[in-house]
Amino acid sequence: MYKYVIRRILIFIPMLFFLTVIVFILAKSAPGDPFSTMLDPNVDQQVFEERREALGLNDSLPVQYVRWISSVIQGDFGQSLVYNGREVSELINDRFMNTIYLGLVALFFTLIVAIPIGIYSAKNPYSPLDYFATGFGFLGLAIPNFFFGLIAIYVFAIHLGWFPAQGTVSNPNISGFQEFLDRIHHMILPGITLGLAGTATYMRYMRSEVLDVLGSDYVRTAKAKGMTDRNVLYKHTLRNALIPIITLMGFEFGVLVSGAVITEQVFNYPGLGTLFIDSTINRDYPVVMALCLIFGAFILVGNLLADIFYSVVDPRIRYD
C-alpha cells in the first residue's frame, strides 16, 4: 500500500512536467500578450515594447520556459504581468481558501441532498417521490448555473433579504467567530448553486448502486438470516454502494480547486476560477502556469485519494 502510494506520487512529477510544457506551448501560441490589448493613443507602442523586452517576452519559447521552470523549482512562481508588481503566489493565496471553502460547502449540500434521496429512491423505486426526485434532479442538471444563481439572488437576496447577494464577507472589520458565521452566510447561496448540478449525478449513482446491491445474493442471504431491513441497508448495502460515489468525489477534488467560474462570477465570489479566466484573457502567463500546475496536482491527488479510499471501503481491493 505505502509502496503503491509512493510510486504513484513519483509518477506525478513527470506528469506535471509534461502538463506545464503543454500548457506553456498552448498559452504562448495564443495571439497577443498582456500588453497587446492596451490601446491608448497617448501611450507609444514603444513603451510596451520596452516592457516586453524587460520581462523577457521577446525571448524564444525554450528560453522563457527554462526561466520559468527553474524559478518554480526554487519555489518562486514569479510576478504577475498584469497586476503590476504582485507576486503570483500572493494572488493565488488570497483566493485559494475561498475556492476550497466554496467547493466544500457545495459538496456538502450535494451530499446531504443526494445520498438520502438516492437511498430512499432505491428503497422505494417508482414511488411518487422517486419520480419527483428524478425529475428534480434532471431539472437541476439542466438549469444553467448562472441562471439558477441569478434567480437565487433575486429571490433570496434581493426580495427576501435572507442572504447577502455578493462577495465573501460583509465588512473587513469583523473577526473571529463572527467573521466565520458571516463567511458561511455568504457561502450558502453560491454553495447551493454550485452543488445543484452535482446533486442529480450523485443521486442517480446512489440510487442505481443501492438498487444493484439490494438485489445481490449476499443481501438476500442477510435477509434470510433474519436481519432487519435497516441493518441490511446500513451494514451491507451502503458500504458497497459508496464506491462509485468515492470515485466521483475523487474527481471532484480536482474540480473543487479549479473553481466554478460562472458561479464565482455571478456571486462575485473571488476564487481561482475567475482568476484563471481573467489571467487567460489577459495573457498573464505566470498566473496561468501556476494555476495549471496547482489544478493538475489536485486532480492527480484526488484520483490517488479515491484509489486509497477504495481499499478502505472495499477490503477486496488491494494495492501492492
Binding site: R86, G161, I281
Partner: protein, 610 residues
C-alpha cells in the same frame, strides 16, 4: 478495525458540517432582520420626497455623516498609485484620494485645484504654479512643491517604463526629458521648485495646452523618497490601504480585495471636511447591479460602465433613483482598411507609408461615402442603444469646443447609396446578384469584428444586412477574441488578412481635442492606415505656435479637418453611446463632469446622515 476508523472519521466530518449548517441558519435569520430595516428605510425616504424633484427638500442644506455604496463590476487590479495604475477601476478609487495641480470644469477648461493660480510666459514655454498652502497629505505631512517635482521626476526616470509605468506622455514635452531619460544627466530641468509653494514647468518647445501637463495627480515624496522606481509598484504605499497617501477628500482606509474598497472622510481636507463619513466601492456582478440599486444596498452606479441602455427604463421605474445621462467621450466606428502594411514592416513594427499596400476594395472615396449612406445609423442607436446615444459625423468628442456638426453627414438612404455605387461603376457584371468591381472582377468586402463589447458584436450582422441590401457582397468574419482580432487589424495588418472593414471603439481624452494620436498618417493607432497628407497638414497646423495660442484659430482648423475627415471618410462613425449614471435620491450634491461622475465628492451628502 483500522478500516472502520476511516469510515467513522468520514462520518464525523459530515456531522461537523451539519452543525455548521445549523449555525448558519441562526445567522441568516439575524441579518435578515437587519436587511429588512435597511430596505424599509429606502422607500419611506422616497415617499417623503414626493416625486423626483429633490430641490425642495434641500432647503435643510447638507447634513454631515452617512455612508454611501458605489458599485463597479470589475475589481481594480490593486495598483493604487497614480503613476503606475492602468485601469479605470483604480481611477475610481484614486479620484477620491489624489489631486492634481489643476482640474477641469464642465466646459473642460482647466481650473485651480492644488494650484490656486498660474502664470504662463509669452511664448508658452514655461508655466509657473502657485500652490495652496496648508494642504496636508493624509498622514499629516505638508504638501509642497517638492512633491510636484518628485512626481514628474519619477515619471521621467530612465527606469520608469521598465517598472511598468505608461504615463510618459505627461513628461515627454518637458524640457530636458530626453537627456534625463537617457541617463545623460541627473538633473531634470522640466519641473523646478522655485520655493515651497511655487513650481515651474519648462517645455522644450512652445506648448499649446500647457495646463494639460499639470493635470496629473501628485504623489507624496516622503512616502517614496529613496525607493528605487523599480520597486515602487510593489511598495506598500502603492498597494496597501492605509499606506496609500494622497491629498484628496477621502482616505483609502480598508479593503476586502476584489470585493470592497473603503474610503473614509479626510478630517483635515484643505477644502473642508467632506459631509460623508464613508464611501464604499463594492464589486458587484453586472446582472444584479440594478436589483441592488433598487433595494438600496448600493447607492450609485457610475463609471466606467454605468447603467446599460436596456436597463434605463427599469431603473427609472424604481422611483427612488436619479438618473444623469450624458454623452460619453468616444465613439464606435466601422473603419475602412485603406492600406495594409507589408509583412516585413509589420514584423519590424514599422509604420512606413511609402511601403503601404493599397486595398482596392475600399480605395474609392465615392464607394466609402455610398457605404456610409447604406448604413442605418439611427437604427443602430434606436435598436441597440434604445435611443441612449447619438449619431456623429466627426471624430472629435462632442463636448469639445473643437467639435462641429457642420460636416458632410450621411443620412440613411439605401437608394442614394445604390445610385452612388452605380455611378462609381460598381454594378453587378456577372449576374450573381452582387455588385462587382468596375472592371468586372468580383467585389467582396470582408467585415471583421471582435468579441467583448456586446453592443458592438450585435451591430456586425446588422451592418452586413445593411450593406447587402444595396447589393454589396459582405463576408462577415466570425468574431475573434480581442487579442487575436488586434493581430489581424493592427499588429500584423498585412494584405493576406483580407480585412476591408473593421469595428472598433475609442475612448477619447478629455484633456485636448488633438486627434493626431488616432488619425495622423504615421500614428500607430491609425488603424485604417489613412494616408492623407492634407489631414496631417491640418492637424499639424492646429498645433502650430504661436497662432494656436488662440483657441479660435484652432477651432477653425479643426472644423476644416473634421470636414476633410467626413469627406474622405477613413471610417464611418457608427454611434456615440450615452453614459448613464444612476444614484439613490438620498444622495445629494452630485455634479458630474462631462467625463466623470466623481467631482467634488467632499460636497456630496445624504439626506439621512447623522
Amino acid at each position: 478495525m483500522k478500516k472502520k476508523f476511516w469510515l467513522i472519521s468520514l462520518m464525523m466530518v459530515m456531522v461537523a458540517f451539519l452543525l455548521v449548517a445549523c449555525n448558519t441558519g441562526e445567522q441568516s435569520t439575524q441579518s435578515d432582520g437587519q436587511d429588512k430595516s435597511d430596505t424599509t428605510e429606502t422607500p419611506s425616504d422616497n415617499g417623503g420626497d414626493s416625486g423626483e424633484d429633490h430641490e425642495d427638500s434641500s432647503d435643510d442644506g447638507p447634513v454631515k455623516g452617512g455612508t454611501i455604496v458605489g458599485a463597479m463590476h470589475t475589481a481594480p487590479s490593486g495598483v493604487f498609485n497614480p503613476i503606475f495604475y492602468s485601469e479605470t477601476y483604480e481611477a475610481n478609487i484614486l479620484d477620491f484620494t489624489h489631486e492634481a495641480l489643476v482640474g477641469q470644469n464642465n466646459s473642460l477648461e482647466f481650473i485651480p485645484e492644488l494650484a490656486y493660480d498660474w502664470e504662463i510666459n509669452d511664448d508658452q514655454t514655461a508655466i509657473t504654479f502657485f500652490l495652496e498652502e496648508g494642504v496636508k497629505w493624509h498622514d499629516g505631512e505638508a504638501f509642497t512643491a517638492d512633491d510636484v517635482v518628485f512626481t514628474y521626476q519619477t515619471i521621467a526616470d530612465p527606469n520608469y517604463t521598465e517598472a511598468g509605468g505608461i504615463r510618459t506622455e505627461y513628461v515627454t514635452p518637458l524640457k530636458g526629458y530626453q537627456e534625463y531619460v537617457n541617463g545623460e544627466t541627473d538633473e531634470f530641468e522640466g519641473v523646478v521648485a522655485e520655493d515651497d509653494y511655487t513650481v515651474t514647468f519648462y517645455f522644450e518647445e512652445p506648448n499649446v495646452n500647457p495646463l494639460y501637463y499639470a493635470s496629473f495627480p501628485i504623489i507624496p515624496e516622503h512616502k517614496f523618497a529613496g525607493v528605487d522606481v523599480m520597486d515602487m509598484p510593489s511598495h506598500p504605499a502603492t498597494l496597501d490601504p492605509g499606506e496609500v497617501v494622497g491629498t484628496g477628500p477621502f482616505v483609502f482606509t480598508d479593503m476586502v480585495e476584489r470585493e470592497q474598497y473603503i474610503l473614509t472622510a479626510n478630517e483635515d481636507y484643505w477644502q473642508g471636511r467632506p459631509y460623508l463619513d464613508q464611501i464604499i466601492w463594492r464589486i458587484v456582478d453586472q446582472s444584479v447591479m440594478t436589483g441592488l440599486l433598487e433595494t438600496g444596498e448600493i447607492d450609485f452606479i457610475a463609471d466606467p460602465e454605468g447603467v446599460a441602455p436596456a436597463d434605463y427604463e427599469t431603473v427609472k421605474g424604481f422611483g427612488n433613483i436619479e438618473i444623469i445621462e450624458q454623452t460619453d467621450f468616444g465613439y464606435q466606428l466601422m473603419g475602412f482598411k485603406l492600406n495594409y502594411r507589408t509583412p516585413e514592416d509589420a514584423e519590424a513594427g514599422k509604420i512606413n507609408p511609402d511601403n503601404w499596400v493599397e486595398n482596392p476594395d475600399v480605395a474609392d472615396q465615392k464607394v466609402r461615402q455610398a457605404i456610409a449612406h447604406a448604413i442605418n445609423r439611427p437604427g443602430l442607436v434606436q435598436g441597440l442603444l434604445y435611443g441612449r446615444g447619438s449619431v456623429i459625423n466627426a471624430p472629435i468628442a462632442q463636448q469639445f469646443w473643437a467639435y462641429t456638426e457642420d460636416v458632410p453627414s450621411y443620412d440613411y438612404d439605401p437608394e442614394t447609396a445604390a445610385r452612388m455605387l452605380d455611378e462609381a461603376g460598381y454594378v453587378d457584371a456577372d449576374g450573381d446578384g452582387w455588385r462587382d468591381f468596375p472592371n468586372g472582377d468580383e467585389w467582396v468586402l470582408d467585415l471583421a469584428y471582435p468579441t467583448g463589447n456586446k453592443l458592438r458584436e450585435r451591430s456586425a450582422p446588422v451592418l452586413e444586412e445593411n450593406l447587402e441590401a444595396v447589393g454589396i457582397n459582405v463576408n462577415l468574419h466570425p468574431p475573434k477574441e480581442f487579442s487575436a482580432y488586434l493581430d489581424d487589424i493592427f499588429y500584423n495588418d498585412t494584405p493576406d488578412k483580407k480585412v476591408d472593414l473593421y469595428l472598433l471603439g475609442w475612448s477619447l481624452s478629455s484633456g485636448d481635442p488633438d486627434p493626431s494620436g488616432l488619425w495622423n498618417i504615421e500614428a500607430q493607432y491609425n488603424i485604417s492606415r489613412w494616408n492623407n497628407a492634407e489631414s496631417d497638414a491640418l492637424i499639424q497646423k492646429a498645433l502650430q505656435t504661436p497662432e494656436a495660442f488662440d483657441q479660435d484659430f484652432r477651432i477653425d482648423v479643426y472644423h476644416e479637418w473634421q470636414n476633410l475627415f467626413a469627406t474622405d471618410l477613413p471610417a464611418v462613425l457608427l454611434y456615440a453611446q450615452n453614459k448613464i449614471y444612476a444614484f439613490n435620491d438620498r444622495l445629494r450634491g452630485v455634479d458630474p463632469l462631462p467625463y466623470s461622475f466623481i467631482n467634488n465628492p467632499h460636497l456630496w451628502w445624504v439626506t439621512d446622515g447623522k
